[in-house]
Point group: C2
Chain length 530, copies 2
């Protein structure tokens, strides 16, 4: 792209439209600053220390839980210790709901053959009192008529709720890096517009049946519900688990459903997800006529309903200090691991980028702000609230850009850079359909080309906090990351632990964020919008 | 190899030495029987039912444990129900030692951040009384002088004994099948003679240090010892665990050491292996100055010392019924999974082969005997005892074949076929240096060539019960198996569970064993010896 401008035709073009060439020339790299950033980020990195504090010591960080609070305190004091200014908890406008943490958990198969069961409770599940021993009943329901045979048989029982999860040998590696052909495909791809948000669809038969099963368990007075860790990804005792299910008839619109973290959530049964191999074993034991007796210890703690909060801090700019470049990642996590790749990795990278920038000893023209968001896992709640209060909102979700009401601050906003796809190295940027930033990012990435980051794709990427900015037309981007083990092993699982982080990749990413933030803060113009 | 005999030179050779060609011609395949065996084995297989009974219902099967007894009872009654004759428990000549089983286990990290720890006790570890809460101490010892700092500091503590285990992303698949280039290498390989048995080597510095660490923990009065699941294979919460360590000074010869299953074993500390990711987290917590408090529940049961026993049964032959073809696998297992791929898979395949052979409605010329061995994991004890009592022994282990004293039964012994390398499909046979069986096995394998089994390698394979036969010069073989996830994921681990078995592979193997056994039982000659 850049090289093409040296073509003779380009020179002619430049004479006719000098502005075009000028726009390109402003993206010159400040090589002295880049060298300093790289030196600090690669040779004196603190990213793994930060990561360990966010995970080993303060993780997991379920939104509004005591762990989240401790991690937020740690982030605040760390940012302050590096000289980041105005660090504060940014409270959302309304109650998020309750915090929750696990106090004690154990699931034991007492026999006929004893074995300790690999399992993890869902977040916001209620507990049971003491160690409760009960017979396991397998709910072998494939159609509505099958429900009848369980009437009168679930009281005081622990229910194996789901069908067994098929387990297959791992012929594909858990971890991969993007190869050239995938990157080329991305590079050549056209934009694929898609806006987040769950659309209501006609309920399917499995959804209808699922509600009837939940309803049966509750009405019959089961003690607890066990489900197999879901299939199609990873097994080997790894448990994929998120929030407790609040059963609703399939017809109920999402807007009428109350999540398990809300203070007004309906009473639900204790819910535990079991490793596929152990769940399947129990099903086979029962199917072979064995009486399986389980002992469940499940002590959970709810904290009072309260507003959620983000951690915000900034490096104040000089002559353009009212204009803002923002970097961020969500600080909250799920609860069965320590939320390392989702998303202490992103938080640590952004904190480390701020530390690197403060270490430079020079002040950027624009203000560089960090946002560590809460409630991402419950629907980008923290970033949405921040954007709404600070920059504006989309009044009608059905009409993406027609109903945007911006606040004055939005005019001074340049760009938001987010990370939330695991531990993998940045290999490029998703342009979210904004082709105008292509030459800019192309130039900023040059110092990282030899390290494997060079691909720009028009494609959108979704599912995380840059969408909150993108939704009101502000430039918000995520990076193309090597997948490593994110979708196969760590995303929302009990194995999302510190050891799954890849140190060189996180150093690379923090350095690259620092360079991008610096460039955005010091270029002549704001980042162009779509 | 077979094709070469059709070469003109071969015809000349045949005229000069007709016996050679005759030997080839006797290996004709009885295609009617092969078809029947394949039909029964592929279309009416019971191998997965047998496997589930040996694992889900009666597993794990630690030697002499109640689980082993239940599995042996099940194997005996199943074989009997299929018409297998003389099924009996074959008791070894001397005491094995104690049985052991886990009654209850839970390891909880009480904080400062609560999490349930993925871990598994070593076999034959003693337990602790009730739920014991204690502080964790990390024994950060890299050289002898480091020991001093822990004196007076381990009493009443739970010790993190090992260094952390490095965890790396899984860029290689867990599961593989052998490709042509590997098979070709094996096919072209020369014999690599190697006899089993541990040779005493000069103690290394790490071994010396390990003993000093154990000694320190015991003398100081630690409550229990935790070790990280070892590295270089698998992680993701999978725990590799075998027998409890009885610490001896590195200089003590193996012959003077008493294993933890022996009634006269020295008193040892309770020992637990922790998943690498969780162990490493605790080490980092401690290294960051946190006081880690653990709660250990570890209730174990020892059964009285007693002789070990195998399960033996047979299909009695007709005119050559005094001659014996034997198939077998070890029935015992480690204890943290259900011993599925090590080695319920082999046991189920051999039992299924017997069932298939009984289903044919015809009787073989020679007797076909099955041996399901105990004590394999403690040193091939069951098969060694059986071979010694039945066929003879090698009096001096230093002189492999010079000191063999055979019993009369050995003359009537044809061949022993074993399976003990996981769930993977048979791709060929290790000839154990016996080139004379090459043309025989080449022919027997023909009905399985299209299914991927066609490779013969002169190479030895070791580590399991065919060595007990091979050690006294009797033909004993194992098959080349697809590795699937054996060395990466299931071997001696908490993930050695039923779902790791691959049904088509086990059907293939049972069918192939039935064909090989039938062919061996009905050919004119015994299988030639080395």
């Amino acid at each position: 792209m850049i090289k093409r401008f040296l073509h003779p035709f380009t020179v002619l073009l430049a004479l006719l439209f000098p502005g075009i060439v000028f726009a390109q020339q402003t993206e010159k790299i400040d090589t002295a600053i880049v060298s300093k950033i790289k030196d600090e980020g690669m040779n004196r990195s603190k990213v793994m220390d930060i990561l360990s504090m966010l995970t080993d010591i303060h993780g997991p960080r379920l939104t509004n839980s005591p762990g989240y609070k401790k991690a937020a305190d740690y982030a605040k004091s760390s940012l302050e210790s590096w000289g980041v200014q105005n660090v504060h908890f940014d409270t959302w406008e309304e109650d998020f709901g309750r915090g929750w943490q696990l106090k004690k958990f154990s699931l034991q198969n007492l026999g006929p053959v004893y074995f300790p069961v690999i399992a993890y409770p869902k977040a916001w599940t209620p507990g049971v009192k003491g160690a409760v021993a009960a017979e396991a009943v397998y709910l072998d329901i494939k159609k509505e008529e099958d429900l009848n045979q369980y009437k009168g048989k679930l009281k005081g029982k622990i229910v194996l709720f789901s069908l067994p999860t098929p387990v297959k040998p791992g012929f594909k590696p858990d971890a991969t890096r993007l190869n050239d052909s995938t990157l080329l495909q991305m590079s050549n791809a056209d934009i694929s517009e898609s806006f987040g948000g769950r659309r209501f669809q006609a309920p399917t038969e499995p959804q209808r049946l699922a509600y009837l099963k939940w309803d049966l368990c509750q009405k019959e007075g089961a003690i607890a519900v066990l489900e197999a860790s879901p299939s199609a990804r990873l097994e080997d005792g790894t448990v994929t688990v998120s929030a407790a299910t609040v059963p609703y008839p399939a017809e109920t619109p999402f807007s009428k459903r109350v999540s398990s973290y809300k203070a007004n959530a309906p009473k639900i049964l204790p819910q535990v997800v079991v490793a596929a191999e152990h769940y399947n074993r129990m099903v086979r034991q029962i199917q072979k006529g064995q009486t399986v007796k389980l002992e469940l210890t499940l002590e959970t703690e709810f904290t009072p309903s309260a507003p959620g909060y983000n951690v915000i801090g900034e490096i104040q700019g000089t002559d353009l200090k009212d204009e803002v470049v923002m970097i961020g990642a969500h600080l909250d996590s799920w609860h069965s691991g320590t939320g390392t790749t989702d998303n202490a990795a992103g938080s640590a990278v952004m904190m480390e980028a701020m530390r690197i920038l403060k270490s430079l000893g020079v002040t950027p023209k624009r203000t560089i702000r960090i946002g560590l968001w809460g409630g991402e896992e419950q629907g980008l709640l923290g970033s949405k609230s921040y954007v709404k209060r600070t920059y504006g909102e989309r009044l009608d979700k059905a009409f993406p850009y027609d109903s945007i009401q911006l606040k004055p601050g939005a005019e001074k906003f340049s760009v938001y850079l987010n990370m939330d796809n695991g531990t993998g190295k940045f290999r490029g940027v998703y342009l979210q359909g904004n082709d105008k930033v292509r030459p800019i990012f192309r130039n900023w990435m040059k110092p990282f080309n030899k390290m494997g980051a060079s691909t720009l794709t028009l494609q959108n990427t979704g599912g995380t906090d840059h969408l909150s900015f993108d939704a009101i037309g502000l430039p918000g981007f995520q990076f193309i990351q090597d997948p490593i083990e994110y979708s196969t092993r760590t995303h929302h699982t009990s194995m999302d632990l510190y050891d799954k982080a890849v140190e060189p990749d996180l150093k690379h990413n923090a350095t690259m964020i620092a360079v991008f933030a610096w460039m955005a803060a010091n270029r002549d113009e704001l980042i162009p919008r779509k």
